[in-house]
Amino acid sequence: MGTPTEEAMKAAILEKIPDAAVQVGPGSGGGHFTVQVVSPVFEGKSMLESQRLVLGAIAHLMKGDGAPVHAIDSLKTRTTA
């Protein structure tokens, strides 16, 4: 189990991409995270489209000054593990 924020991010991503394997871990500091998502849904999508899909899922956690998620240090989207 990750921190509540990590779990919330994971849940939000899975809601948008149910077949995904999602890993969320701590990044370089408070509010910073690393995210890796593996799903066939990224097939044929550009990096921009793939990242937008994931970031869109967690956008509500990144909104405003007091948001629990300040930055994603590294976001990897892959079609296979």
Partner: protein, 307 residues
Amino acid sequence: MPLSDQQRQQFDDLVKKSRVVLFMKGNKHFPQCGFSAQVIGILKETGVPFETVNVLSDPAVRDGIKEYSSWPTIPQLYVDGEFLGGCDIVKEMYAAGDLQKKLGVVEKPVATPTITLDERAAKAIKDADEGNGEHLRLEIDDKFQYELYFGPPQAGDIEVVASGLKVLFDKASAKRADGIRIQWVDTPDGGAFKIENPNEPARVKSLTVTELKTWMDEGKPFEMFDVRGEDERTIAKIDRARALDAAGEKHLLALDKKTPIVFQCHHGMRSKSAAERFLREGFTNVFNLEGGIEAWSQKVDSKVARY
């Protein structure tokens, strides 16, 4: 909150105010976030002119651009009115050469740098290699700060082999790496990598009192100046240090610009500004004695009075 037509129109204009527009935190001279700074670094490498919009100076722009681009983070790069992406994507596009194509710049091929790895450094690296297919990477940023770590290969990497080891550089780092020497040295905190890089602009180097003692014991040629006044020098002084009075300064200015020169004071602050001053005079091998004569007395020679 969805944008009104009027707001959308304002962003349509803003993203086209120049061919290349970066929405960032801070400005190109003082980026206020590491991700923004990285994108600035890349844009500078490409040499194209670009405009920046500081989202910190206007909350409406900060929130609006996220909505406009459907992208929740800053920085955001626009080229010809088209959203390219954030920091990760820009980095990857630059490494693969796609950004340069988009910007219409022809990149000069980066020459493979020549590097030297001493035997102990090579051994330390081999010992650290977990054999998981990751490679040794060396990143050198525009302030000549170094990061040496194991990581996956990336598009556009430049590969260098030294002492039988493969080292990967991204393009920007490779340009700053020709002639570097990586050593493994002993420090009071254990072994550490030391990187000497002839491409670094001259700056004041710091010298510890124990290093200074070693220099003296080994008879290394160097000059040393005490920037304190005669009043303080009467209380305590290091014999090797010449006073930086009028005569001392005359002596210093006549020295070869490559002479190693150590500056010393009471705690290391005044000597640092003196060192910086002589760096501006063109001296390239300038050291500041960290902790000054106080540290010398505590760690090397207790006969030197403390005050």
